[in-house]
Every structure is written in structure tokens, then in C-alpha cells.
Amino acid sequence: MKYTLGVDVGGTFTDLFVLSDAGQVFVHKTPSTPANPACAIVDGAKELCKKFDIAPSDVTRFCHGTTVATNALIQRRGGKVCMITTRGFKDVIEIARQVRPKYYDLYEDYPAPLVKRQDRFEITERVGFDGGVVKQIDRNELARIVDSIELGGYDACAICLLFSYNNPEHERIIAEEVRKRLPNLRLSVSSEVQPEFREYERFSTTVLNGYLLSVMTEYMKTLEQEVAENFGNTQLGVNQSSGGLMSVSRAQLFPIRTALSGPAAGVVGAIEIARQAGRKKVITLDMGGTSADVALIRDYGFDISLDRAIEGFPVRLPSIDIDSVGAGGGSVAWLDLDGLMKVGPESAGSYPGPACYKRGGTNPTVSDANLLLGRLSNRGLLNGTMPLDVSLSQTAIKPLSEKLGLEETRTAQGILSIVVANMVRAVRGISVERGLDPREYTLLAFGGAGPLHASAVAHALDMKEILVPPSPGILCAQGLVVSDLIERFVRTIRLPLDDDKAGEKLFEALAELRADAERWLQTEDLLPDVQRSSDVVVDMRYRGQNFELSVPLTGVQRKGVTEELRNAFFGAHERNYGFHNPKDPVEIVNLRLTESVKLYNAKAMQVSKTTVEKPVPEETRAVYYDQEAPLRAPVYDRAKFQPGMTFTGPAIVEQLDATTVVFPGDQVVIQENGSMLITVN
């Protein structure tokens, strides 16, 4: 028997999910080891193998989601970076977009660049807008720059030249020279990191990548070595922000691609759950301690976003289009100066955490409100290993309710209604505001706190169905196991759609991208019979606009392709902005190719027998829903559910890593894979 292992490293826990070739599932959770995350990964995997009697050498694939890069950025623990850039432009990385982060705040600034001004070297050279060389590289100057870099004791060098997305030759020459003279210096080259126009965003992404190179390489080396020692010749894959795996060697070249990967695996896991339930239209709600992430799934696929930021620095790279709001279990409720109640974005985190955690927290949080209302059990999380103290929640909420002149329970209901409204706003942002109707979608709730609030969110948006996966707290690790190997390619080709040769030029550029993809595949050491697929989108806009809309290129015929694209663009414009101008000139800006290789083949999960029995509640307790008075709600242990069981809310479902609140009248059916499908009344 062969096994695939998914390991997701979180701030508190490292989650492991194993899937056998026969479709058996095994899960395990172990405390994270932030100083060296590889410890918890390897030890956790060994524990899991022992617990379920799996021979380590039978684990043939090891899929890993890492926060090493993200944490290095947050804690500013990256390497010392220098930069080589076009003469006259060393300040581009510092000037950024010449804006302040907040219009009205005289004291808030964006963070200083990660490469100091004295570490930026200007080289005489220039490439023009069309890729033509305006000025040759001054080789003597280059030699002198490399001398200075040698003396500077840098870990990495970012090479960032103007228009390199259109002609990377100068960046290549410089990289070659630096590599020749300083073979130990790690390089981050802008035309390799993301060959796309708009220099500041490309340079920023390249510098961030350079900053992370040494941290990631060291980590990957340790991990690779320890995995090899304990699991033999297993294949290691690293999760990317864009929701697919990459090889270890690529992760070492492009660590920045992991920086926003945290929530990405959850979305991939959600797609698998959606597929098992046969739901093609799903909105995910992943709610943890500090934030809630929402994403929209159509036909088992997600949208890609390109403009993200991390720690105040823009990252121009594909990532799953996930919107995040500061709404989590630890989000703090407070009164603003005008007396209105707000919840978040400040969070009590895990330490000290909500007041009820008994770790010294005194601020009223979302979890305190849930506990006070009976939605969470005072036996607490993790099957009673961490009891909660409702009297501390009461003490924390009391001052708030006194200022508001409301009952404590009403105040707690208010905290929840505001945090739900914040999540509803995020869901609207990815659906209604893009011309999509959330009522046609199933809400898929996961993360520790997702199932606790999903019903309220669904009711507010008039959504008809909620799906709660078997292990809501471990869905990211599951997503890693089912992820594809993915590489994305881009070419900026600014091209009017009414150009006589637009179709031809488009397909020429596409052929180049496909050649790049072939070259990549050859370096990836794959079996010859792998299942491949590719996907092409075109970024388009009206000539004169600044923001592009992506439309899929489905046709393979050159003839008629421009007409097809034009219509697709009009449709996208209508959906996004509510109108389109049929006569205005349209232009193509970028062409994007995504190449995927299937590493996992969906098999039927092992299904237990279905039953017609009703579940038996463990107890009943008073739970406050939206009404003034509490209802008596039965409390179920999810571990005892069998496929086919049904019941109707009000009800509370408790399990190891999550609590699900079922609203009065909502109906629950346990699915074959163990998911709960809740039909909203």
C-alpha cells in the first residue's frame, strides 16, 4: 500500500492528513515547533505512521504547506539583500507608488524597503519599451559593482532592470557575471520571478524573493535531509500561494511563492469536499482565531488574484483569490469614539486569547460571546482538554453591555451579528460585487470557527445550503494531499484587439509560453504517463483603462478568436461594472498559461454503511440564537455520526476541532464521506 501525506504547519498546531491508495484517511495533530518547523513535521509524521501502523517507506509523497517565508517576513528575519538596477532608478523600490497608506493619518507610513539605499547599485544600461536595447551594459562598471558586492557580505542579490519582462537579456548577462564571480551569492532575477510590466510591483516581488532565499534554502535542506533519513525516497512537494505544489528545487528559487500559501491549501481541500458532495458552486468560509478567509469556487476551480500585499509590500504573483477580514474567534469587541460597537480587526490571538481561555485575557472576544450564548461548550475545545470559563467571558462583556445599556446576552448577540456582518461583507465582495448571486452557492465552512458562524452567514445572504467537512480544522492538510503540481507562465503583450494580426500574434506568444512549459516539465522529473492539463487566460481592458479583466481563451482556432475574446470581455465588464461600451477599442495586455500535472487521482473514499437511525444527543443545553430567550438545543458528538443520519435544528454538533451551530428549522444530513450537509430553512 502506498500513502500520500499532507502536512500543514500552523502557528499552534502541525496538522497531518494521510490518504492511502485505497482511499483510507488518517489524521493527526501535533504541537508546532516554531524554532525548527521540520521537527514537528518529521516527528508528527513518524508518530502518525506508528499510530496507524504505516511503514515510513510506503509514504511515497510528502506534501508540505510552510509558513517559514511568511514568518521570516513578519519577523524581518530574512537575509541581507543587495540590488542591481538600471542607472537612474535605484529609488524606484523606495518611492513605490508615491502614496501614503492612509489618507488622513499624518503619522502612518509604509515600511522601509528591505534593501537599503546604500545596498542598491546602479548599472549603466537601458532596454526600451519594445525590448530594444537603448544603451548597452557597461561591462567595466559591472565588474566594479561585483567588486563592491563581494565586499558587502550579502546573502542575496536582486537584479531588477527596466523592461526586463520584454527582453531579459541584460538581466541574464548580469546574473551570469555575478554567478561566475560570486557563486555562493543567491540571485533573484526579476524576469524570472515574474516577467510582467509595471516595474515597482515586479521589483518589490523580486526583492522580497531575494530576502527569503537564504532562509528558505536552509529550511528546505534540513527538511529534505530529515525526510530522506526517516522516509527514504519520498517525493517532496511544497505548496504555493496559487494553490498547487512545486518541487523543492523551485521552492528554493522562488520562496516568495509560498508567502501567501497559508489559506490556499484550505481552498484546494474545499474543492475536494465540494467534488465529493457534487456541489459545483461553493463559497468557502475559513474562520480561525484572527481572521476569516473567503473564496469562490466554480466548477471545482478558483479565481486567481495578482495584486496582493504582504507586510505592506506588494507581491505581484498569482495567488488564489481569497479575501480576508479581521473576523476570528479572538476578535475583540470595542466601542468607538462615537459610541458605535466594532468587532476586530484587533484580535486577542492564542495568547492571551479570549477571556474564557483563562490565560489572562480581559477583552471581550467573539469566542466569549459564543460561550456566553451557549453556542460553545464550557467543556471547551479539544474534547475537554482545554475547559473554558464562562464567568470570565461574562466579566469581559459586562462593561460593554453597561455602556450600551443592554443585557449581556443581547450584547453578545450584537458582537456576533457584527462579526457576521463583516464576513457577509467579504462574501458579497467576492460574489455580488462581481455579478454573482450567492444564493446559488453552497457555503462551505471550515477552520476552527467557520462552522460556528456559517449558519448566521448563510441566513444573512439567503444561501440555501451549508457543507461542513468531516474534519473542518484539518482541511488545509487534506488540500495538500489532493493538490496538483502547478506552474504558471505569463507574457505581457500589449496588442489592440482590432489589429489585423491580433489572432496570429496571440498564438505566437502562446506557442512561446507552451515551449517554456515544456522546458519546465522536463526539469520536474515526472513519470512519462502523467496526466497534464493547461489553461489559458487573457488579461484585457478598454484602451485607456488601467485595470484588466481576465477572460479565458477557450478556442484553438486563430480565426474568430478576437471576436470570441471581445464578447467574453464585454460579458466580464458587464458583470463586474454593470455596463460595457460595445464600440470602444479593446486591447490585450497579458497572456497567462497555467500548466498542471495531476499527482493525485480522486478515488472513492472508503464509505461506511449508511443508516436511517437518528443520532442520539449527548445532552441538551440552553443556547441563545437570535431571539431574546434561549432554546433547549440537543448537543451531538460528531464522532458518533453515521452516513444517512438526519436531524433538524436547533442543535449543536461538537467534535475534536470544531463546533457547528445548527439554526432552528435547518435540516442536517450526514453525507457518505462524513460531511454534514445543512439545508437552510
Binding site: 535605484k90 529609488d91 502614496v99 492612509k102 488622513y104 519599451f129 458605535l340 461583507r425 461594472y577 454593470g578
Partner: protein, 553 residues
């Protein structure tokens, strides 16, 4: 309506809902527009006004001046348009600063009423700066214009849509009077679509929150913001504060134009009196009164309570006194296109006046300019005419606890730059340098921010250009013994003959392919005695190359 039905929780939920309506509409307008001023510079705004004409919500990110203009427009709207002439599906349009509450002609205001069961509930309004509104110069912003008629088409308050029906003759009239009408049509329809989007969302909102609750919420939101602003004003020590400053010139010959400000604070009352300010000038740096109020509202919010909401309650908390026909209360037929230069100065002045009262919250004078460059010509690659327009940031004033930021947009404006790779793709221009302007920040315990330097050359053709700056003569001042930042500087660099210095406002003149235009924006003032600057900070100034002896910060 009693408080029990509109508690602070419900009110927060409604307020949040209204904010998201304006923001969605704001983003849709930004992303679908053609005008650089909208899509890139975000010189647009979306507001909800109540049936009494009060602004209840302004979208996050909106241009601050617009709050004053939309408030003034709504006031005139309700005075002049009888209720029975307002119908479902109407959209009203206006832009005139002298008769309809506009702030300058390129800013076009749209107002769409929202009805619920036949009753007028509110207006969804937006305001956007169009790339051209006609008049004597391309872009309608030329610094040499001297009366409103030269500045473009004046639109009175009239219906662009009547009960859902486009007033086509009016649209034709407008488009016939502006340059690049195809693109402008796109911008008008982006504005119309944003109005309609807001109305649809408002209808959905009214389905969730009944009419009574929503109307009560309007009152509550404005009232609570007003009280909050009053509390903020009360935090300023009582007293009379004053400040004098001088504008460089009006671009057509008047130099050293004085502005005078006295601020009287007593409890939660604040009166800002501009009496004594210069009479309106021939050039177009005059401010309509509503733009003056918009500037004051911005700067008081920034100084006293940056997180306060932007609505009628903010503006009703203070009093502005101006003399009709002065630089800060311009009357017909004054030219007003470049009023933002003056608005920037008003911000510096309010801060300067309050510095003794609020030493920990103020900042030294910022670059105080809205330095702009326009280059026009015929693209030799396509044979088509082009206009490149951009405004550049500069130094931000040093603060009580840290240096001023380098190279940012300040106060009234917060607009992006054009990426070089986008600019050169679009226009036959070569950017030769884009850098921080070394030594331009004023010395101090905390130093002022550095200005920018941008050098641009036309490729293969002779172009024409014009540039407009302020604080190119009168340097941005420091505070509490901090020194002044460097004034701005325009020049032409010639391949053979060196550098030709230019004044701070240059009307259109040619630029040959062997020449480059160099724009150096002003730095900003320092804060505190330079002798008290931390040694590490001083070392970093030198090592980074931002400063060199003898101009060490």
C-alpha cells in the same frame, strides 16, 4: 423612534452597510473609467446624501475636497429643484463652481434620487475629475487661464436622465465641447453606472432595514459624527492662533500672494477666519468657498481624529469665515482650475497655526504643491496625438516623533505615479531618471522628507510641455527650530548646452528630442533643532546618500 430600536449595534450594522454601498460604487467607477484622474489618481468620490441634502456617508478613499463640493451642490439642489420634479430614474448633473457648488469645471457631479414606495429616501451621488471639460487648453487645467469661460464647459444643475431616459441632446452638447469625446463618453457612463449600482444596492438595503430605521440611522450617524468632532475640537487648548503664508504666484504675473488665518478655539467651538487674505487673482489658483471648507475639514480630521467618519457632521462642527471675492472664496468670473495648490497651502497653514497648541500631533510644512507636468505631441510611432499628464509627490513634513516621508503625495491628494513601463508603452517618451532628490529635506531633530526628481525626454519628435508647481520660491517651513526644505525646481537639460532654469509655472513651450524636462519637487520642513538629531540617524543620512555635507540633516 426610540433608542431601543436603534441601539449602537443596529446602527453599526446599518452604517457598515451604507459604507459598503458607497465603496462598491467607488471601486466600480475607478476600475471602469478612462480618465487618468479617476483610474490612477482616484480623483473621484461617492456619497449618500439624505433628503435634507446632508452628506451621510462618503466612500473610503474619496478625494477630501469633494465632500465640500458635494455638500454645496446638494444645498443648491434642494433650494432650486422642486420636490415634484425629482423622479425615480432621474440623474442630475452639474459642475459650475460659481452657481452650482462645483469646485472646478473638470469635476462633474452626478446625483441620483432613491425612492422607496414612492418616497424619496436619499441620493446616491458621485463626483469625478474628467481628463478634459473643454475650454482653451487640452486637459482644462492649464495654469495660464484667467476666467472661468476659458476653463471649459459650465454645466448648470440639470437632468442627464429623466425617469430613466437619457437626455441625448444634452449628452451630445457636452461631448461636442470636450476633447477625445469617445473616452469622455466612457467616463460619463462609468459615472452613470456607478450611480445606478448604488441605487440598486440601496434598494436591497431597504429590503433588509426598514425605511424608518434607515432614516433614523441617517440622523444618528450625522449627529454622532458631529458630537465626536466637537469632542475632538474640545481637545484643542482654548486660545487664538494665527498663521500667515504666501503663495509663490498665480502663473500670470501676480507674485507673493498672502493668505491670512486666525483660529479661535473656545471649548468645542472653532472659528477659522481667513479675513485679510489676498483678493482673488487673475490666475486660476483661486478656491471656491466649498473647496476651502473641504481643505479645512480634511486637515482638522487628520490632526484631531483621523478615524472619524466623513459626513455632514464633520463639517458642521466648525465655522469658516471668508471674504467673498478673496483667494479662498472666489466669485464669478474667477478661474479656479488649480485651486488644489491653494488647498494644499491651507492645510499647511491650519497645522502651522495649531502647532503651539498641539506640538505632538502636528507636522512641518509638506511639499505644499501639486506639482504637475503635461507633455503633448504627435506620436511618431502612430501619427496620433497624445497627452501625458501626471502629478508628482514630494517631501512630507517632519513629525514630532519621526522623519517626514520621502517622495509621497501629501494632504489633499494621494494619487499614484505612472509606472515607467506603462508610461513608455503609452507615450513616445523616455524616462531618464526617477529618484529621490538628495539634500532636499529640511534639517531637524527629525528631518523633512525628500522631494522627487523625474527627467523625461521626447523620442523622435518635438513635443510641447507645461509644468505647474508651488513652493518653488517660498520654501516649506520647519517647526520648532527645524529648517526649511528645498523649494522645487524645473529645468530643461540639453545634450550639448547644459541646463536652462525655468520658473515655477511654465506655460506651454516646445521640448526637442535632444532636450529633457527635469522636474524636481520640493522637499519638506524639519521638526526640532537639528543639533538634537540622533547620531545613528545622522550616520544613516550620510550612508544612504540621502544627505551629504554640508546639507546634513
Amino acid at each position: 423612534m426610540t433608542n431601543s430600536t436603534l441601539d449602537p449595534i443596529t446602527l453599526e450594522l446599518i452604517h457598515n452597510g451604507l459604507k459598503s454601498i458607497t465603496y462598491e460604487s467607488y471601486v466600480a467607477l475607478k476600475k471602469s473609467a478612462y480618465s487618468t484622474n479617476i483610474k490612477e489618481r482616484h480623483d473621484h468620490s461617492v456619497t449618500i446624501a439624505d433628503p435634507k441634502g446632508r452628506i451621510v456617508v462618503q466612500a473610503e478613499g474619496s478625494f477630501p475636497t469633494h465632500l465640500g463640493s458635494m455638500a454645496a451642490t446638494m444645498e443648491i439642489f434642494l433650494q432650486t429643484i422642486p420636490r415634484e420634479e425629482i423622479h425615480d430614474g432621474d440623474i442630475f448633473i452639474s459642475n459650475d463652481p460659481h452657481t452650482t457648488g462645483g469646485s472646478h469645471l473638470p469635476d462633474v457631479n452626478l446625483m441620483m434620487p432613491v425612492f422607496h414606495e414612492g418616497e424619496l429616501i436619499c441620493f446616491i451621488c458621485n463626483l469625478a475629475h474628467h481628463a478634459d471639460i473643454g475650454g482653451m487648453s487640452p486637459g482644462s487645467m492649464d495654469g495660464s487661464m484667467t476666467e472661468i469661460f476659458q476653463e471649459g464647459l459650465r454645466i448648470p444643475l440639470i437632468k442627464l436622465f429623466d425617469r430613466g431616459q437619457l437626455n441625448q441632446p444634452l449628452m451630445d452638447l457636452i461631448l461636442l465641447n470636450v476633447r477625445v469625446p469617445e473616452e469622455r463618453r466612457g467616463d460619463y457612463f462609468a459615472q452613470v453606472a456607478a450611480c445606478k449600482l448604488g441605487c440598486r444596492r440601496m434598494a436591497e438595503h431597504l429590503a433588509a432595514y426598514p425605511r424608518d430605521l434607515t432614516l433614523t440611522a441617517f440622523d444618528e450617524i450625522v449627529e454622532r459624527t458631529h458630537r465626536r468632532m466637537k469632542t475632538a475640537i474640545a481637545s484643542v487648548p482654548d486660545g487664538t492662533y494665527s498663521f500667515e503664508d504666501v503663495m509663490d504666484d498665480d502663473g500670470v504675473g501676480t507674485k507673493d500672494i498672502p493668505i491670512s488665518l486666525k483660529i479661535a478655539v473656545s471649548g468645542d467651538e472653532m472659528v477659522l477666519d481667513f479675513t485679510g487674505t489676498s483678493a482673488q487673482v487673475a490666475g486660476n489658483i483661486n478656491c471656491p468657498r466649498n473647496a476651502t471648507i473641504g481643505a479645512v475639514a480634511y486637515v482638522l480630521k487628520a490632526l484631531l481624529d483621523p478615524n472619524i467618519a466623513n459626513n455632514h457632521g464633520t463639517q458642521s462642527a466648525f465655522t469658516v469665515v471668508t471674504e467673498g471675492g478673496s483667494l479662498v472664496d472666489a466669485r464669478f468670473p474667477a478661474a479656479v482650475a488649480s485651486r488644489n495648490h491653494t488647498c494644499q497651502r491651507l492645510c499647511d497653514m491650519v497645522i502651522g497655526a495649531l502647532a503651539p497648541a498641539l506640538p505632538d500631533r502636528v507636522v512641518a510644512a509638506a511639499n505644499g504643491s501639486n506639482t504637475s507636468i503635461a507633455i503633448a505631441g504627435v506620436d511618431p510611432r502612430t501619427g496620433k496625438p497624445y497627452i501625458y499628464f501626471e502629478t508628482l509627490g514630494g517631501g512630507f513634513g517632519a513629525r514630532a516623533s519621526k522623519d517626514g516621508s520621502d517622495a509621497v503625495q501629501v494632504h489633499m491628494t494621494n494619487t499614484s505615479n505612472s509606472p515607467i513601463e506603462a508610461l513608455e508603452l503609452e507615450y513616445p517618451l523616455l524616462v531618464e531618471e526617477y529618484s529621490l532628490r538628495e539634500n532636499s529635506g529640511g534639517a531637524g531633530r527629525y528631518r523633512g522628507g525628500l522631494g522627487l526628481r523625474r527627467v523625461i525626454r521626447p523620442l523622435g519628435h518635438t513635443a510641447s510641455f507645461n509644468v505647474v508647481g508651488e513652493r518653488f520660491v517660498h520654501a516649506p517651513w520647519g517647526l520648532f527650530e527645524g529648517q526649511s526644505g528645498a523649494p522645487g525646481f524645473f529645468s530643461i537639460l540639453c545634450d550639448e548646452k547644459g541646463e536652462i532654469a525655468l520658473p515655477g509655472k511654465v506655460p506651454t513651450r516646445p521640448l526637442a528630442p535632444h532636450q529633457s524636462i527635469s522636474v524636481q519637487t520640493p522637499g519638506a520642513g524639519g521638526y526640532g533643532n537639528p543639533a538634537r538629531r540622533a547620531p545613528e540617524a545622522r550616520a544613516e543620512d550620510l550612508e544612504s546618500g540621502k544627505f551629504s555635507p554640508p546639507a546634513v540633516a
